[in-house]
Amino acid sequence: MTALRGDQLDPGTQLDLVSNVLTASANNRQTIVAETVIGGLYS
């Protein structure tokens, strides 16, 4: 399985989710699901 190995990044490295926002509204809402793993095949 491929994955972003955030666990192997150097200390101080910043990892962000960025985006453009194309429509403006006071009722804008966003949700983010982050699927991460510890151990297992990535021990």
Binding site: A3, G6, S19, T36
Partner: protein, 352 residues
Amino acid sequence: MQPNNISAQQALQALDASNSLVGRNQGPELLNSSTVDLTNGATVTPNFLAIRRPIAELLIRLRFRVAVTVANYVAVGCEAPQNILQRIILTGSHAQYGSQTLFNMTGATAFLYPSLFSARGGGSLLINDVLASRPGQPITSSFLGTTAGSPYDVDMTFRLPMAPFVGIGSQSKKQAAAFWLQAADWGDSLQLSMLFGDKSSLGNSTGSTVTFSGYGGTGNPTVDVFAVYGLLGGLRDAFNGRGGVCIRNETIMNAFTALATGTKLQSLQKRVTLNLLVKSGLLETTLQSAGITTFASLSDRQLDATQVIQDSKAIRPNVANIVAKDWMANQFGVDNPARLLPDVVRRQRATR
């Protein structure tokens, strides 16, 4: 010996056992059944989950009748009725990794999440014994919210896989097995909480009278929790004390209401990251009870060029969410229905 160090003989035994695994799991076994108050909203917390054998996934079944009288819903939330399960939280204490929240997701997202990775992966929804369409483009509610269609007997299932999505073949289940919930790792510590909303989680009910009861109109709504136990055969001891943890955590953001370019939505934890799902839309704001979050609509035109940035470098450059989304749909062989807008949910798979 450290948990992650095994001898050559143990490695060969594990390889043999892995090759013998056929990937057929036990069917769902009922763990808990209880009633739930949907009139006022409630939290249901079953007893600790029993790990009789490794848990591959959990299933939640919710059954109720909702009657709409006097007037129709003014507007039905696009994720009704699955949104009535406002939040699913699974916590536990892992022998090696300590206290963990394995699953923290809205019911609406949990309902469709597995279907993003396989054509037959998500939950199921029956309304008056008619199978509702799977969430498509655009996402629209299968619950009409009209007096003419009332009452609505709802029987739906949410699927919570405990391992990463690796496909449906037997070979791939060997990889998934490393993340199943093992008694040696979790003991009796697994705790499931289900936070249920009320009529406002189905939309704007101004002027209408909404009544919840048990399925078929008698008694109270019920929620059942099932476990699907994995059958490891000769591999059953291979992950004792070294099982992995798959964590799915959903956060809701309300700060991004103005036009912006390259704005940071969220700092990501520096963990092994398999998938990121971004859902965007407009909130229902009328007659919402405290603590309830209901999307009136979802849109793929609210955000664009959504991507992971490591320092100032894009992990996987993306300038058009629609293109990225379509590419991901092809990777998993899932339906990405008619190119109508606004559409559903976008996702981004981060790879090394």
